[in-house]
Amino acid sequence: MLDAFVSAAGYMVGNPMSFLLIIFSVVWGIVFGAVPGLTGIVGVALLIPFTFAFDPTEGMLLLGGVYVGSTFGGSISAILFNTPGSPEAACTSLDGYPMAKRGEAGKALGIALAASAVGGIFGTLVLMFAAPPLARLALEFGPAEYFALAVLGITAIASIGGGSLIKGLIAGLLGLAVALIGLDPLTGVARFTFGNMMLLTGVSFIAAIIGIFALAEVLQRFADGPPKGEQMAQVSTQLPSLAEFLATKVTLLRSSVIGTVIGALPGVGATTAAFISYSEAFRWSKRPELFGKGSPEGIAAPEAGNNSAVGGSMIPLLALGIPGSATTAVMIGGLTIHGIVPGPMLMQNNSDLVYSVFIGMLLANVLMLVFGLRAARLFAVVLKAPYQLVGPAIVVLCMTGVFALNNNVSDVAVMLVFGGVGFFLKSYGLPVASFIIGLVLGPIAEVSLRQGLILADYDMMALVTRPIAGTLLLLSALSLVYGIWGKLRRPPSDGPGNAQPEAS
């Protein structure tokens, strides 16, 4: 391993082009992450043809850098405009935007950037040193374990209730209900489509979150009337001080571990990692009442989680040849057009390539700190423009991005509907966080429960007593009890994620 690492480092040092490619790809990724609807997948897909011009290692460095940059980029627009640039950044909006509205946009971006770098570096280090054992662990995950993992995330719904347990449950169940729309993944029966062909494929998640966050925000702010002395002028990005950084060390570590493990699981990616990291950060926080109101932990957790999932999702790709996320699925295309077959033999036959990618991803995370700061400053200049112009421009950007994603007007219609849903949730104090958690984890929970029951011969006990599944379910039960107990101890007005209409 050391030989391969030294050889790869030698390749990188002797090939300045690789550094230029990493810089370009990180910037490209940040831009694609920050523009709503474009996402890292589109950024990677658009660059695949260009990898023909380079050797396979340079090509992979290019794609890996985009993946790293885009995962952070989504948080810029999430924090500044309540418009998640990519699905994995949706969770960052919940605390990033309230912090920005308090006049601490720079601090929020700094926390997101530092947490992204920590998570990204953690995930890459795990990828470097523990890819084979983690890949084997990922293979141990069957439907029962996926179900238990989804339950772990879903139990947070009850805790994130904005002071009202019942409202948290209602919002979460609404999210689970929306996730039911479309063809049943097992039987192929159309459910809750009411004859509408557009709904057969289900609700587009990207369109839904952009509607819920961005459109609902524009509607709310225009309905509230002229802005009265909003404190969005201070926009210079600043990394958190050492003391602030150390205050979130437990959250960062927990989220990085969660993100790496979830990233390594095929089929669940950075978005799930971000939401589970967020819900666990809330559950174990000493100040849970600050969540949803601009808590630094609420930004650090999802950002560390989704960026560590980047390294995690490369584990099954490189060690087993199975994509851990949608973006790595696209990256397989980049490898195969160069005649490289990802899988167990890759580490032996192409160790230079694999270790160059590891080093490249580490570098990309460090470079992200430099270029992320600059990019955030550039985007933040928009905050100085009047909202009378910025608001409609956000609507245009969202519609254009969502349309361009699949060249499909029906996705834009879905976004409009979810703009209304987001406004409804805000108006009646139903926590958006619970709704989104339901939407993300609902399909995983349903499919894995049903598949697990089939495999266990419909014996529920056999399903829940498998070692990993049982442990995860026990953790869910304990954390649920802990969450409810904590909620009962707190005064009823405290609570996270409660998107109350702000009387601005």
Binding site: L389, Y428, A503
Partner: protein, 172 residues
């Protein structure tokens, strides 16, 4: 008071809708192969729980209304929730209608014209004195965005239909 009443109406509607959707799930086609884990298993769990939660919340709201029919003393959160600035609903309807209008216009008159008109009209909903900025921003933003998507990323934008399609073709 109006907000509390609207909450009662909304959660009553949600309770009824959840029950109706539970029955919709019950009526889904039955698969013999997956009889014990059929398409209705998860939806029934979700809608059953949703109906229950909505009914409990509805009961709490109705009990609150009966206890304090005139609105009664409100907590700070309830006061914020119920607060609506002057002209709130008018601006809400105008903005909503404008966004829906833009969506429809995109399909008929294409991206360039629809976006320019939308940005111009949108900038007039809230008071803003700088008329020059309003006039200049719309065309500049539209052209830059169209150039970025069409030439920078080679992604297509809505081109409208009929004569507007021809116009978009000529402009792109």
């Amino acid at each position: 008071m109006l907000h509390k009443l609207s909450e009662v109406v909304v959660f009553a509607a949600m309770t009824i809708a959840s029950v109706a959707l539970w029955f919709t799930a019950d009526a889904l086609p039955v698969s013999r192969r997956y009889e014990q884990v059929d398409s209705d298993l998860w939806p029934k769990l979700v809608f059953g729980a949703l109906a229950l939660c909505c009914a409990v919340h509805l009961a709490q709201k109705v009990a609150g209304l009966i206890a304090a029919p005139s609105g009664g003393p409100r907590s700070e959160d309830e006061a914020i929730e119920a607060y609506t600035p002057d002209g709130y609903y008018l601006r809400l309807v105008l903005t909503g209608a404008l966004i829906v209008g833009y969506f429809i216009a995109l399909q008929y008159i294409g991206f360039l014209l629809a976006t320019m008109i939308f940005l111009w009209v949108g900038s007039w909903i809230l008071p803003y004195r700088n008329t020059l900025a309003k006039l200049v921003f719309a065309p500049v933003f539209t052209i830059l965005l169209a150039a970025f998507f069409s030439y920078g990323l080679s992604l297509s934008l809505p081109r409208g239909s009929g004569i507007f399609y021809e116009l978009s073709q000529a402009l792109f």
